[in-house]
Symmetry: C2
Subunit: 214 residues, 2 copies
């Protein structure tokens, strides 16, 4: 979500970004098996030789795809104005919905499947790359929100990471894994709103300091 216009071009030329886009499309609707160097070259109208010149080898291409996609979903920091109980709740619900939207995105799902598939291989920085550029990034947004809530006297917690872990679990539960396993996921989008509300209500009941609404 929130595609910034020019999110600080990471490492690659426009042409190469086009190639990475094609590769992502290919991965999304064909799975890793369809992501062969030949098919990427064909889909992007470039030569295999150029692929190897630009990305080194197949793993380099995969890493580049993750980095590229991460640069596209860079999360915006919602400026915490003076928080009230209502606005805090509002921000939390918005965060929850955004999180669910991101996790259910087909590109996100495809990249997570890819990284998980490569996780058994030894080197394979893909998993930690996804962790670092994906979760840690969106977790930072939640972090400032939680801190702001505590500073405003609306939340009470000792360990911020524990609180965020709880919030994340309440929002996502095993939904992410179910989607990764292939559950149709088309029908559940409707419920994101309800799910976000439920999770935030529970979270506020756990960590709110007096003022929460069921």
């Amino acid at each position: 979500m929130q595609l910034a216009a020019h999110p600080h071009q990471p490492d690659y030329s426009p042409r190469q970004n086009d190639v990475l886009d094609s590769a992502l499309r290919l991965l999304v609707d064909g799975g890793e098996k369809a992501l062969t160097t030949a098919s990427v070259a064909r889909a992007a109208n470039c030569s295999k030789e150029s692929l190897y010149k630009w990305f080194g080898d197949r793993d380099g291409l995969l890493s580049a795809m993750i980095g590229f996609q991460a640069s596209k979903v860079r999360t915006f920091e919602d400026d915490a104005e003076t928080l009230t109980a209502a606005t805090l709740r509002e921000h939390l619900v918005l965060f929850a919905r955004d999180l669910l939207e991101v996790l259910s995105g087909d590109v996100s799902l495809a990249l997570n499947r890819l990284a998980i598939g490569q996780a058994s291989r030894d080197g394979s920085k893909l998993g930690s790359m996804l962790q670092e550029r994906g979760r840690r990034q969106i977790g930072k947004r939640a972090g400032v929100l939680l801190e702001a809530g505590r500073d405003a006297g609306l939340l009470a917690f000792e360990d911020r990471d524990d609180a965020y872990d709880t919030l994340y679990g309440l929002i996502v539960s095993d939904l992410h894994l179910r989607m990764l396993l292939g559950e149709d996921s088309g029908r559940m989008v409707k419920d994101f709103g309800r799910r976000a509300e439920r999770a935030v209500s529970a979270f506020l009941r756990l960590y709110g300091s007096g003022k929460s609404s069921a």
Copy 2:
């Protein structure tokens, strides 16, 4: 966990179970890439021809592996005696710890990675098989526990599935996914106890009917 002695032999002969065991070992410490028909045959001291006779094709072998493992981890139903607040809490914590143990097991992780990797393929019943035989099974155990708690007046909830979803999220959060992505996972086992306690405390604060302890 809880390997039943003879958990209702599913479909295969002892010899074939040995083969499936070898295949699982191979998958665990080599990933899917290492799970070739030739290597399975070599590891199990059988011929490729026998593999194809017994399991049809490679997908049949994978399905058999999942079914075989599921039959080994069949969860026991803990008989809910007359519940008190203390015993309910105890049972919930035990459930949480068992859940974390199961999810962090190397065979479970390997099979989940396998199923997720195959999820993009069209047919691929592997994902739903894992869902059906894995989560649904352990979810049933939690279900009866929750119902018993409600019948005893210790828990208050309307939708049992919602309650279980919350419990699951509080226990697991994104830990499962992080492990699937390759986070070392060796060091965090130590924290399972603390994590289970934390999750159950939070759950009881949300769904307990008056009597819970922080």
